[in-house]
Structures are given as structure tokens and as C-alpha cells.
């Protein structure tokens, strides 16, 4: 199978996803050529320590997003609490404080749908563990736009509702364990920047 060429990897998760993200990111190599953008649902008033928690387990540079942060390979960009993340087609990340979507801000759907638009479908979406249905619509949009959808196998997820919803919305998406997703992103996906 020839590698899929994309401009970014977008990842979303909710309940149990800090651990899940740690597992997944620990697989990616230091010279990983594709920018990774992740939304993890956290309480809105939390001063986000997620980057500090993840960094020791990840060979890439992990940072929280500020408005208009440039997208670079070798980096993992985390959504700040209480803001949506919207990638722009010229490879910067905008933030938005507009309404919650499915009671969530940041919203996985907003990240995925915007990434599908801005990168013209050249994107991989990953839905991980979670106890709501955020991400399903966005993943479908990515696949409809020509991108690739990966879902954490619900049987292996801390909270299976989110991956199940994504699976129902996207029957063609691949189900994998977190380390398989990490391996897939490493070997089967490459940058088209």
C-alpha cells in the first residue's frame, strides 16, 4: 500500500483520552514529518497542563495552541481549554470562542470539519475514547472530502461511545488499537507539504 499524503493529522478524544493520547503519541518518531493537532475535552477553566503531561512521553515538541500558531512538522498542537481550533489553508491555526458544539468547546467536529475544508481533504482524522458523540460528524466530513479516518477500536477504548458513534457515521474508517494507529501514522502516512 502506498503511503497516503496529507497536510496534517487531527486527533480527538474525550473521557480517558489523556492516557490514550499519551499511548498514541509515544509511538511517533522524532522526525515525524506531519503536524499533529489534537482536541481533548477538558474542563473550560482548567489552566491546561496537558502539554506538560504529554511531553515526557512524546519525542515531538508538544505545545498548546495560541491564535495564529504556525503549523510545523515535528510538533503536536493541543487545543487550549474553552477555544475551538480552526486550521487555515495557509498552515496556521486560528482560535475561536464561538458557541459550543455538542456542548463542547473545543469541539472535535469543528477541528475536523475545518481541517477537511482548509486542507482540501488531505488530512487524517483519528477518533479515540470518549463518552459523547463529538467527532463522528467531523470524521465523516474528512472521509467525504477524500481524507482518511481512523478509529480506536471501541472494544479497547476506556469509553466506547465516541468511537462507536464515529464507526456508525463512517463505516469505511479503519478500527485499530492506539499503538496500531501510531504505527499506521508513522509508516502509511506521509507529508504532502
Amino acid at each position: 500500500m502506498s503511503p497516503v499524503h496529507v497536510k496534517a493529522v487531527v486527533i480527538g478524544g474525550s473521557a480517558g483520552s489523556v492516557e490514550a493520547l499519551t499511548t498514541l503519541l509515544s509511538v511517533l518518531p522524532e522526525q515525524y514529518g506531519i503536524p499533529v493537532i489534537a482536541v481533548v475535552h477538558l474542563p473550560p477553566d482548567s489552566k491546561s497542563l496537558l502539554a506538560d503531561i504529554l511531553q515526557p512521553h512524546c519525542k515531538l515538541i508538544v505545545q498548546e495552541i495560541e491564535d495564529k500558531t504556525p503549523l510545523l512538522p515535528g510538533h503536536v498542537y493541543l487545543a487550549p481549554p474553552d477555544y475551538h481550533v480552526l486550521p487555515e489553508s495557509h498552515n496556521v491555526l486560528s482560535l475561536s470562542a464561538e458557541e459550543e458544539v455538542l456542548f463542547s468547546r473545543p469541539s472535535i467536529d469543528v477541528l475536523f470539519e475545518t481541517a477537511a475544508d482548509s486542507f482540501d481533504g488531505k488530512v487524517v482524522g483519528v477518533v479515540m475514547t470518549g463518552a459523547n458523540e463529538d467527532g463522528a460528524r467531523g470524521l465523516k466530513k474528512i472521509i467525504d472530502a477524500g481524507g482518511l479516518g481512523l478509529i480506536q477500536d471501541p472494544a479497547t477504548a476506556y469509553a466506547p461511545m465516541m468511537p462507536r458513534a464515529a464507526e456508525a457515521a463512517c463505516p469505511t474508517a479503519k478500527l485499530m488499537t492506539l499503538s496500531q494507529i501510531g504505527e499506521f501514522l508513522t509508516h502509511e502516512v506521509s507529508s504532502c507539504r
Binding site: 495552541i65 495560541e66 491564535d67 495564529k68 487550549p80 477555544y83 480552526l86 486550521p87 487555515e88 489553508s89 486560528s94 482560535l95 475561536s96 470562542a97 464561538e98 458557541e99 469543528v110 470539519e113 475545518t114 475544508d117 482548509s118 482540501d120
Partner: protein
């Protein structure tokens, strides 16, 4: 339809809105504009942005509806309490030294941040010598700001923020409740000038000692951000203060040299050069 032709239709729509109505969204961050216009298009049941453009150009009500999609009006009182605490504890001691003050709430939306400022200035004894300018491009938002009426369901959050921000009494001292809503006391508007003002097209209108513009610049692309910050720099007197949103900064902007960090974590800057 491909994104390119869709983006072309969007830019034609924005051009049309600008040419006809002088609202300039052309420098706004595209990802959000695209998303908001898609919501508007789907709400009206149009298949394309060209249809939406036709509606906007031939119907003022259509324009207003689209504007309400394009102007994001989500805010809360004392949002990010640490910011307001820093204004109260670090900025206000400097502001006290002025005989009179002008404070600009740029992009005031429906007024939540404005009332937060007025309440804080009243509690610190500065209200009577301060003139507050509350500006926005949205007439609807300004109307809401002037009314000062908010849904009762939001008050618990506002009150919690107020306490965390160092509020000196109880937020309920400033409003009356009834019929599922609260109305903020009209005396809070005594020192406020509400005005239609666009950071994209209008100029500076007064010399300020403090400007608070939070979660407005995130909707702008870099050039428009530079324009807005240029206005702020021009408007502030030397040592005047600029407060931005928690995830906004002057880094990478053209005017970053005009300012120094004053309270870094809270994104409060102080103007260094100039008049």
C-alpha cells in the same frame, strides 16, 4: 464543488457586502468565515454562496441575518477571572494617578465585558472620573449591550467569575432579576458611550489610558490584526494598557515593539513609545 470555487464565491460575497454595505470581512480569518457562512447558507436552505449573495444584496433583512452569523457574539462577564484580577490589582494602581481616564472596550459584543469593567472601576472608586467607550460593528450587539439584560441561566457563571476576579460585594448588587432574566442597573451606563466602530475600516477617535479587546483579534487574519493593533497603539497614551484574550498575543505582529509585557500570563501589555 471544489473548495477553490467555493472560496471564490465566498470572497465575491464578502466583496459584495463591503461594496454595498461597507462591512469589511475581507481580512477575517477564512476558516471561521467559511464555517459561519456555511451555517448561514444551510439555515436559509441555499445551495450556493451565490444564492446567499443574491439574498444579501436584495434584502436588508438578509444582510442582518448574515451579519449575525459573521459576528461571533459569545462572551461572559469576568471571563478569565485572572485577567480581571490582574487589571484590578496591577493596572488600576497606575490608572489612579490620572486625573481623568478613558477606557475603550473594543468589540464589546453584547456588553458582558463592559459591565465587568464598570463594576470593577466603581468598586475601586474610579468610575466617576472614567469615560468608557464600548464599540462594536454589530448594531444588534450594541443594542443588547445598551439594554444590559442577560438570561438568568448565565448568572451563576457570571457570579462565580466575579468572585474569582476579586469582586468586593455580590454581583446581585448590580442587577435586578425577573422573568427568567436579569437587568443590570442603568447607573452602570452613566459613564458609557456606545458607538458603532470597525477595527477594519475606522480610525482612532480618542486618547485612551486602557484598551481591552479580548477574543476579537482571533477572528482576524494577520494583516487586519496588524491594523487593529496599530489603532490601539496610536490611541493609547504612553504607558497606556492593552489587554488581549488569554490565547492572543502581540508576538509576530507588526507593532510588538510599541509594547512591553506588563502582566504576561494575563496578556496585559503596556505601551512603551509614543506620545
Amino acid at each position: 464543488m471544489t473548495n477553490t470555487s467555493e472560496d471564490m464565491e465566498i470572497s465575491l460575497l464578502l466583496e459584495a457586502i463591503h461594496r454595498n454595505y461597507h462591512y469589511d470581512f475581507r481580512g477575517y480569518a477564512m476558516a471561521s468565515v467559511r464555517r459561519r457562512l456555511k451555517l448561514a447558507r444551510d439555515r436559509f436552505g441555499f445551495r450556493s454562496y451565490s444564492q446567499l449573495q443574491d439574498h444579501v444584496l436584495h434584502d436588508a433583512a438578509g444582510l442582518n441575518a448574515v451579519l449575525s452569523f459573521l459576528t461571533v457574539q459569545v462572551s461572559e462577564m469576568f471571563r478569565d477571572p485572572a485577567y480581571f484580577r490582574a487589571v484590578r490589582e496591577k493596572v488600576i494602581p497606575h490608572l489612579r494617578t490620572y486625573p481623568s481616564l478613558k477606557v475603550w472596550i473594543a468589540g464589546c459584543s453584547s456588553g458582558e465585558e463592559l459591565y465587568s469593567f464598570v463594576i470593577m472601576f466603581r468598586e475601586e472608586g474610579l468610575e466617576d472620573k472614567t469615560l468608557f467607550y464600548a464599540t462594536d460593528i454589530s448594531a444588534d450587539a450594541l443594542k443588547k449591550a445598551e439594554l444590559g439584560v442577560y438570561d438568568l441561566s448565565r448568572i451563576a457563571q457570571f457570579s462565580e467569575n466575579y468572585q474569582k476576579a476579586g469582586g468586593k460585594t455580590s454581583l446581585s448588587d448590580y442587577y435586578t432579576a425577573g422573568y427568567g432574566a436579569v437587568t443590570f442597573d442603568k447607573s452602570l451606563r452613566r459613564r458609557v458611550v456606545f458607538s458603532d466602530h470597525s477595527l477594519a475600516t475606522d480610525a482612532v477617535f480618542a486618547e485612551m489610558q486602557m484598551i481591552s479587546c479580548r477574543n476579537v483579534l482571533i477572528y482576524f487574519e494577520r494583516d487586519l490584526q496588524n491594523r487593529a493593533i496599530g489603532l490601539f497603539s496610536e490611541s493609547l497614551n504612553r504607558k497606556g494598557f492593552l489587554g488581549l484574550g488569554a490565547k492572543e498575543s502581540l508576538r509576530f505582529t507588526k507593532h510588538s515593539d510599541d509594547f512591553a509585557d506588563f502582566s504576561k500570563d494575563e496578556r496585559i501589555y503596556q505601551k512603551t513609545g509614543g506620545a
